[in-house]
């Protein structure tokens, strides 16, 4: 089983098609939509986590591409600006999945990307505006 995060770009004409339904039914993939901005007649974006076998994952991605959807691995979507960050730790207080924590002892900020669900609670909570979401 593999779990991968994809950053999908939907061309305007595609934005209403039931993509996740096909990923489940045709490829036995488990989708988890972490973030989405999809509106009719506009380019859409979706941050999608897919869990399934490596084979089915590749097939699913091929299906998405055939449908005209831009597919790339989600990269560093949450950006921490070290220049602005004062390591107060307030972001860790609102991070329910525990992706942002303070290291034991040093109290330095640690970000575990795999745990992040892109809820943006840290973006809003950061008093230094040091956290941004690239999407």
């Amino acid at each position: 089983m593999a779990r991968r995060r994809l950053d999908l770009t939907f061309p305007p004409r595609q934005a209403t098609k039931a993509i996740t339904y096909h990923l489940v039914r045709d490829f036995d993939l488990v989708p988890n939509i972490l973030r989405a901005q999809i509106q009719p007649a506009q380019e859409g974006r979706m941050l999608l986590e897919l869990t399934g076998s490596a084979e089915q994952f590749e097939a699913g991605v091929a299906f998405l591409r055939a449908e005209g959807i831009g597919v790339r691995e989600a990269a560093s979507d949450i950006c921490l600006d070290d220049e602005r960050c004062v390591v107060c730790g307030l972001c860790t207080a609102v991070c329910r999945p525990g992706a942002l924590t303070l290291a034991e002892g040093t109290a330095e900020l640690v970000f575990d990307k795999d745990k992040c669900v892109y809820c943006e609670a840290c973006v809003v909570a950061c008093p230094r505006r040091a956290v941004t979401l690239r999407f």
Binding site: V86, V87, C88, G89, L90, C91, T92, A93, V94, R96, G98, T101, L102, T106, A107, E108, A121, V124, A125, P127, R128, R129
Partner: protein, 390 residues
């Protein structure tokens, strides 16, 4: 064992003083005992870097030609006081911008000045015989100003509340976002490194204490506003909730943006992270005993901010070691914690102050006047009265 201020200053001046941060001192005291540590060490340095709303700067702009008596003043669209002499002002850290609201405020103007950036000064005045100009629109930098000094009426709280929220909706507070139904707890103290937790009865810290203020050498100017020495104390005499406070003065031109950082708290307002470090002389074993206290020995009281009144219900007491572990337990339920005061920067401040003392021979001032002591004044509430009731 006792040491006098004069002996300690003589050792600093000759470069022989043994200086440790409060964390280093606690380790030594645990290994060798408090008595031995007290004999070995002359000065213990402390540090804290948290949001301190009651901060601001006095500025003097110099006179334009023809001159103006500034009555209405903004700096980068943030209003400053027009209630002083012609070209003097006070800019408060929490003042929001008239154009950008709480995303940019007085603290951001101060940080921009510290970063060497030009700030737009706009003012209007009534026009008088001696100050005929009625309008001005120009740019100033920190270097241009005649005087620029921080005067912070309340910094460096001796302990603080731990905040939780029993309600059904998130609360946006000066202690950050409090998630509903006890989903998190926030706290704001440097714990074992905090200046006033290391000198709980204000023996070494008083009016005139030389210290580290936002990266500049500064002074304790007075007791801070809402100074409350009568807060409940534990068996070590250390307050278990918000207690003493300090007012500080320091030259902004010698301060650094590394130790004064503007902050915006969502749906609350503007504030500033201010770095304060105070050196404490190891005068005797009693003082050494409190200097040796660790996060496991220091407690804070948990308050329910879900009750939006002046007196919020207290739900128990937790130690700073528990808070720093990332989870506390209140009434049987585990609650994740997060700080709002930076421990890494507090450590840097304590280390920097130690360097000032050992390398720059930064000597200590005994208090010119003590702070109000336990048993004296408390904090009075504001009652809402009608004219008839006066």
């Amino acid at each position: 064992m006792t040491k006098s201020w004069e002996e300690i200053n003589a050792r600093i001046a000759s470069g022989e003083a043994v200086v440790m941060t409060a964390e280093e001192f606690a380790v030594l005291a645990a290994e060798d005992g408090v008595s031995a540590a007290a004999r070995t060490v002359d000065v213990v340095t402390t540090g804290t870097f948290g949001p301190m709303c009651s901060s601001g700067v006095f500025l003097n702009f110099g006179h334009s030609d023809p001159p103006i008596k500034m009555a209405s003043i903004t700096l980068n669209d943030v209003p400053a006081s027009g209630g002083l002499a012609a070209v003097d002002t006070y800019l408060g850290a929490t003042e929001p911008s008239v154009t950008r609201g709480i995303e940019y405020g007085g603290a951001h103007v101060i940080e921009d000045l510290l970063r060497g950036r030009a700030v737009r000064l706009k003012a209007t005045g009534p026009g008088t015989d001696c100050y005929p100009r009625t309008e001005i629109d120009t740019y100033v930098t920190l270097e241009d100003l005649n005087q620029a000094y921080l005067f912070n009426p309340r910094n460096c709280y001796q302990n603080y509340a731990v905040a939780v929220n029993s309600g059904d909706r998130a609360l946006y507070t000066y202690l950050g976002t409090l998630l509903p139904r006890f989903a998190n707890a926030t706290y704001s103290s440097a714990g074992a490194l905090s200046p006033l937790l290391n000198d709980p009865t204000y023996r070494a810290i008083g009016v005139g204490t030389r210290c580290f203020v936002a990266g500049a050498p500064g002074y304790v100017a007075w007791e801070g506003t809402q100074h409350n020495p009568n807060q409940e104390r534990d068996e070590n005499g250390v307050p278990v909730g918000p207690a003493g406070t300090l007012a500080f003065i320091a030259d902004l031109k010698q301060a650094s943006h590394e130790f004064f950082s503007a902050a915006t708290f969502e749906r609350y307002g503007v504030s500033a992270f201010v770095g304060i470090g105070i050196p404490i002389p190891v005068l005797d074993e009693d003082l050494a005993a409190t200097l040796a206290l660790t996060d496991a020995d220091l407690s804070a009281t948990v308050f329910d901010y879900g009750v939006q009144r002046r007196s919020r219900p207290a739900l128990g007491r937790v130690t700073y070691a528990e808070l720093r572990s990332g989870q506390i337990e209140i009434e049987g339920r585990p609650i994740p914690t997060g700080p709002i005061s930076s421990l890494p920067v507090a450590r840097r401040i304590a280390a920097e102050l130690k360097r000032w003392i050992t390398e720059h021979r930064f000597t200590l001032n005994p208090p010119l006047q003590p702070l109000p002591q336990p048993g004296s004044q408390g904090v009075k509430p504001l009652e809402i009265r009608s004219e008839e009731a006066i």
